[in-house]
Symmetry: C2
């Protein structure tokens, strides 16, 4: 049996895969089910095997604003479990019936203490993902700025 496909695991050697395999548990969730809420203690990291998960932020008690929908296999979420102060900064809800791999934060941190190279690879992949998201945001700012410039010309 292999590790699930996940962008966080890119660059793993066989050694990393073997010791990581014991950290993973499988779970399923039904469409509409909440996996965690913004502000909860971030104890688990999730990888999507099948299905889709929506990430949301609460505007007030009544309104949850969708930030993104993670659809493809290999996407991950709950990354606040990797970064102090380990508090989820978004809520997560199953957008479809889904199959997920779950990694417990404490077990993962224990493994990283024993094998810092594992931590280096994971945190490099995580930083790359965040940088890609920041670049997307900047791209949107550029598009808005260009539209504004065009409007001002006419």
């Amino acid at each position: 049996m292999n590790l699930p496909t996940c962008k966080l695991f890119e660059g793993f050697t066989n050694r990393h895969c073997e010791c990581f395999f014991d950290l993973i548990e499988e779970t399923t969730c039904k469409q509409g089910e909440w996996l965690f809420r913004e502000g909860d203690s971030a104890e688990q990291l999730y990888c999507i095997r099948k299905g889709a998960v929506e990430l949301l932020t609460s505007i007030d008690d009544a309104i949850e604003l969708p930030i993104t929908i993670l659809r493809s296999e290999g996407n991950f979420f709950g990354t606040s479990s990797l970064i102090a102060p380990y508090t989820y900064s978004l809520s997560a809800r199953a957008y479809q019936d889904s199959e997920l791999s779950v990694i417990n934060r404490e077990k993962l941190m224990h493994q990283i203490d024993r094998d810092p190279e594992l931590g280096y690879i994971i945190m490099s992949n995580l930083a790359k993902t965040f940088l890609d998201r920041l670049k997307e945001t900047r791209q949107e700012i550029k598009i808005h700025f260009k539209s504004l410039m065009k409007m001002m010309q006419y």
Copy 2:
């Protein structure tokens, strides 16, 4: 002599500080001087000791859109030097006369190969910084959304 104050080095032990110290070179730059351009090969990471540096993205050949100004001591930039494909995604220009610490990517990667824990700490700090920036962006989206809701109520 101590390591410069830098958010990337938070959590370093004495051992990390000692081996890191040899990687750092000091430089100065004059207000308005370009340190690198968007699209350049990212060979160096920078920490601000004194002064301020502006990060910009080019809209077209004629216009550079400011993204942020890094003012305080301890801020760092040129982070694309830590993440493949090692290409600067923004341009950097001295906003004031500045004193900078410069870290060569190849030397740093060589050191991380020898001491993966060093890499784990740096990449964790980097991921935390990126996550903080993403949270700021989301906060701005929330503010715009709330303004929009108020406008629609009246």
